[in-house]
């Protein structure tokens, strides 16, 4: 074991795309958690599983079909939810199970599970290509720029829809924008932790950060720091001990959550 590891190209790519995804997931995830939409990321991830299967069957690069299927299904389910007044958790369940169902049927048609499917289910951060890394960076910068530009509109419509409307903010458009960004983020992040653990990156660092009782920007900063720590440490630990990176990353962020709970229970978090 040595720092030689840091000279490997695959490790550079894993760290760069891992850190970008950590930032992206915790920022987009904070909006979802605050909207009581924590499992939405999970639902989109399952829909993307259907998309991956479509790509494999059609012989198209599966990530592209995953993007299309995930974003479309996220927007459609949001429309259906509003139109027919279905609750958030029920709409998540519908999206989640239909994504898996489509995936299973198509995989059956195309002759069973392959290695590709497993890497989408469980992630393969150490196998990220140069092209994938560039795509991850591009999307991360793009989404963070959109959030920075529309910050007031996004936070206000998350805080209180009615008051945001009265202040002239196009609340419905903001809702779709968040869902759209969540769709892109999920599919982009699948390479890191896979379909099955994606919502951990969206939810756990944010749940921890909210407990520190700070304002929005500091909360986002804490969440991003926790997320980056889990991803970077997770990549190294999994490499040295030859265990799965996705599971390690998620367990580390659960460790941080447990630590935060411990500090809070001990009364060490001041109210201010």
């Amino acid at each position: 074991m040595s720092f030689e590891l840091l000279t490997y190209g695959f490790m550079h790519r894993a760290l760069i795309s891992g850190i970008a995804i950590a930032i992206l997931c915790s920022v987009v995830g904070l909006f979802l958690v605050l909207r009581r939409y924590s499992l939405f990321g999970d639902a989109i991830a399952h829909a993307s599983f259907g998309g991956v299967a479509v790509g494999l069957l059609a012989g198209v690069y599966p990530l592209w079909t995953a993007y299309i299927v995930s974003i479309l299904s996220a927007l459609v389910i949001t429309k259906i939810k509003d139109r027919f007044n279905i609750s958030g958790d029920a709409s998540v369940a519908v999206l989640l199970s239909s994504g898996i169902a489509v995936g299973l049927v198509i995989i059956g048609l195309s002759g069973g599970f392959t290695l590709d499917i497993f890497s989408f289910l469980f992630g393969s951060i150490l196998l990220v290509s140069v092209d994938d890394t560039i795509l991850v960076l591009f999307l991360t910068v793009g989404i963070l720029t959109v959030i920075a530009l529309l910050f007031r509109q996004l936070i206000y419509s998350t805080f209180n829809e009615e008051q945001a409307k009265v202040s002239g903010i196009p609340v419905e458009k903001m809702n779709y924008l968040i869902v759209f960004m969540a769709g892109i983020t999920v599919v982009t992040s699948i390479q890191l932790v896979g379909v099955l653990l994606i919502s951990a990156l969206f939810v756990i660092p944010n749940v921890s950060a909210i407990m520190y009782g700070k304002g929005f920007k500091k909360t986002a900063l804490i969440s991003v720091s926790f997320s980056i720590f889990s991803v970077v440490a997770g990549i190294f630990i999994s490499y040295f001990f030859d265990i799965t990176p996705a599971g390690t990353i998620v367990l580390l962020s659960i460790g941080l959550l447990a630590g935060t709970m411990g500090i809070k229970a001990a009364g060490l978090l001041s109210k201010n």
């Binding site: 936070i155 805080f159 209180n160 945001a164 002239g168 929005f216 201010n272």
Partner: protein
């Protein structure tokens, strides 16, 4: 100039007419108190005026312009809801909340100014969910005022708040109206407070029973009796 002109406003819900042919005007600088029992249509009236409920007959004009033509009028309005609903652990400080009301980032100095004015500058970095009801209400007034609106709409904003905060709130309203010449439309079930603060009164119960100067209303014993009973009942209902 007229701040608000409402003409033949009717709102029908599937099983009931919530508002029936309401017409009234509010001049700039007026302080209008709207009173009426529960279910009188006050919230429906406000929702229609604020563009939250667009399915109505009749016309609503703010500063001479029909609100169906443009939503720009909302920038000149500050709205304080009855009880703002938000997640208790929502990670925003008092300053974050007030900043939401700011339409132009360059006015950031306004935040400190308005917090001072409402006696909550010491709470600026506290989370909104940690404050008492009265403090939270002042934060929401600050948010409604930070962009310097010409008109404020307040929906029974003292429900569930302690007496001391209520009195402070009333003195703030009085100052906004008299010193800063902000037009105020305020629904309340506190007839004494309406008598002290408002210069115009509107009595609503699906239709408009009275609209005029405050003195004319309070010198009409029958009306006062009828509405104080109605508002008493409502008051009891709230507690």
């Amino acid at each position: 100039m007229k701040a608000v002109e409402i003409k033949n406003l009717t709102v029908k819900y599937p099983d009931v007419k919530a508002l029936d042919n309401i017409s009234f005007e509010v001049n700039e600088g007026d302080f209008l108190g709207i009173i009426g029992p529960n279910g009188a249509g006050k919230s429906t009236l406000f929702a229609s005026m604020l563009g939250l409920h667009n399915d109505y007959e009749g016309t609503i004009k703010f500063f001479g312009k029909d609100i169906k033509e443009s939503k720009k009028y909302l920038k000149q309005i500050g709205y304080v809801p009855q009880k703002p609903i938000f997640e208790k652990n929502f990670p925003v400080t008092v300053k974050d909340v007030v900043r939401m009301g700011l339409q132009n980032k360059s006015d950031a100095d306004r935040i400190d100014e308005i917090l001072q004015q409402l006696w909550i500058h010491e709470l600026g970095d506290r989370r909104i969910g940690e404050l008492s009801g009265g403090q939270q209400q002042r934060v929401f007034i600050a948010k409604a005022l930070v962009h310097k609106p010409k008109l404020m709409i307040l929906d029974e904003p003292v429900t569930g708040i302690d007496q001391q905060s209520i009195e402070l709130f009333y003195s703030i309203l009085r100052e906004l109206n008299s010193k800063q010449n902000i037009t105020i439309i305020w629904s309340s079930h506190d007839l004494d407070a309406v008598n002290q603060l408002a210069n115009h009164v509107a009595c609503l119960n699906r239709t408009l029973f009275f609209h005029g100067e405050s003195e004319d209303f309070f010198s009409n014993d029958d009306l006062v009796k009828q509405y104080s009973e109605a508002s008493m009942q409502e008051h009891m209902h709230h507690h």
